[in-house]
């Protein structure tokens, strides 16, 4: 369901900066349904990739073979990202707070971390330069604290947070994430239980359509038949 909702967020022809896992699945699902001209850019330097297998890493050789352009990483960050050429960026994180700020650096204090996470990678600059950020993350009070332990990627450009139970949006007035849509059969209280602050709701909540048979078929039989990323 998360991959399906994420896919539906992408408009045809958009330039998307994409990571591995669910975002990659979502982009490829969108390309095979309503957005055949989506341009996928990976921070590894592959532009317009059409991978013949599910890439296991953003540096997978399958992203190179048959792509439209392969450039160095200085070009990726300067000419594409900083230049403002990326419309959508996907991010995930160990923690997402009420402002949409993301932490992928440490749990606990920086100097004496309880858990050392991988760090920013390209996430800081993606959050700053992509026009619209989509976060994909499963709900839990730990993952959605009121305030992140470390602010790796600022939340200003976060458009939506696609969770396993519903969709949050950033409310422009308050700058807070608010509940905007619910998946079939899910109640707002279930979403609130997975969030570490008092989650407000939009006046009118979207009821999101369940995956179509086409979407399910593509995901399960074509895009990820080995269920590498489709665990739920």
């Amino acid at each position: 369901m998360m991959a399906v909702v994420a896919a539906r967020e992408l408009a045809d022809g958009e330039v998307v900066f994409v990571g591995i896992g669910l975002p990659n699945l979502a982009c490829n699902l969108a390309r095979r349904t309503h957005a055949p001209n989506l341009v996928l850019i990976y921070e590894s330097g592959a532009v317009g990739a059409t991978p013949s297998r599910l890439p296991v890493s953003i540096g997978d050789p399958a992203l190179v073979t048959g792509s439209l352009m392969v450039c160095g990483m200085a070009d990726v960050f300067q000419l594409f990202l900083q230049n403002g050429r990326i419309e959508v960026g996907f991010l995930g994180g160990a923690q997402v707070d009420r402002h949409g700020n993301i932490n992928t650096t440490v749990i606990g204090p920086y100097a004496r971390p309880k858990v050392r996470l991988p760090g920013s990678g390209g996430a800081a600059e993606i959050a700053i330069h992509a026009h619209r950020i989509l976060i994909v993350s499963k709900l839990s009070p730990r993952a959605f604290p009121e305030r992140v332990d470390f602010l790796t990627s600022p939340g200003q450009r976060v458009a939506k947070v696609i969770t396993d139970k519903g969709v949050l949006e950033r409310d422009e007035a308050s700058g807070d994430l608010v509940l905007a849509g619910l998946y079939p059969g899910i109640d707002a209280t279930e979403v609130r239980a997975g969030v570490g602050w008092k989650l407000e709701s939009r006046a009118r909540l979207n009821q999101l359509d369940p995956p179509t048979t086409t979407e399910l078929h593509l995901l399960r039989e074509v895009l990820d038949p080995q269920r590498l990323y489709l665990k739920s």
């Binding site: 330097g45 296991v56 073979t65 990483m73 920013s120 390209g122 600059e125 470390f150």
Partner: protein, 292 residues
């Protein structure tokens, strides 16, 4: 490789083994471990398994990086143990910050300017991230200091005997890291005649004029990959999660596959089915006309 590492990699050096997923010189990292180098400052965007191994083997005093994970799998456990146990110094940037540091080093500028870090905690964690005021617009922009390694090791598909080096597929920051460095070791899948290089000069990424040594080491990037030569060994990356979770198991791995072999050829002989499993298929492009 033994000679190149003996000659060009010294205790206390700032060492870079670059390659973004692609073309990571595991062979060089293993030789550095075998030669017991100490107090190295290891720099790389993504430390990957090779730095995890070097950290576990005690080569590293400090790590300079931007994303320290096992790509597509999870954590680098030796790295995490070292950081959580505070036995390893770290200096941390984002990818763009590291790319910018290499770009500055390669251009022999003391710093590089970028639009980044506004609203993040990274400058608080790393005081070397500073800022500069634009002399035209008055804007405040982020800066990072140049990175000029003592030695950079680059794996590549092919080079001639002088060191004119050609790479295709993902280019990472190989060019910038090499030009930023005092010494450059190029490790290649194939040594080719100078005429091969000269037949397609736009593919040359690193010129011989900046290269200290050329080492021919087929399969030298495994479990990383070389486009057109062999695939990434994803099974190994997944398996590393188990190996590296326990110091003792990791230690056994090093004993068997690093200390236990003399060189990359022996490493490959120990795993006779590797080559068969990972050898690249054929998807050759057409050439272009350089005539006039």
């Amino acid at each position: 490789m033994q000679d190149a590492v003996a000659r060009y990699v010294r205790d206390g050096d700032v060492v870079v083994i670059e390659g973004f997923t692609h073309l990571i010189s595991f062979a060089a990292g293993h030789e550095i471990i075998r030669q017991h180098r100490r107090d190295l400052t290891l720099c790389r965007l993504t430390p990957d398994l090779i730095y995890d191994q070097m950290i576990a083997a005690g080569c590293a005093k400090k790590l300079v990086f931007s994303w320290a994970g096992n790509p597509g799998v999870g954590s680098l456990h030796a790295f995490r143990r070292a950081v959580e146990g505070q036995t390893l110094e770290i200096e941390e940037y984002s990818h763009f910050g590291m790319v910018a540091r290499f770009s500055a080093g390669a251009a022999r500028l003391p710093f590089w300017t970028l639009r980044d870090y506004a609203g993040t905690d990274l400058p608080r964690a790393n005081p070397r991230i500073k800022s500069v005021t634009c002399p035209y617009t008055g804007e405040e922009l982020a800066t990072v200091p140049a990175l000029n390694p003592d030695v950079t090791i680059v794996h590549a598909q092919r080079a001639d005997a002088q060191g004119n080096t050609q790479i295709w597929g993902l280019l990472g920051v190989q060019k910038e890291a090499a030009f930023a460095s005092q010494r450059v070791i190029v490790v290649v899948e194939e040594l080719v005649d100078e005429r091969v290089v000269r037949s397609d000069p736009n593919r040359t990424l690193i010129p011989a004029t900046i290269v200290s040594a050329v080492v021919v080491e087929p399969w030298g990037a495994h479990p990383s990959y070389a486009q057109g030569y062999y695939d990434r060994d994803n099974e190994f990356y997944i398996g590393w999660d188990t190996i590296s979770r326990e110091s003792a198991v990791l230690s056994d791995y090093l004993d068997e596959f690093v200390y236990g072999v003399r060189d990359r050829a022996e490493y490959m002989q120990k795993q006779p089915r590797l080559a068969e499993r990972l050898k690249a298929g054929e998807q050759r492009c057409a050439g272009v006309n350089y005539g006039f």
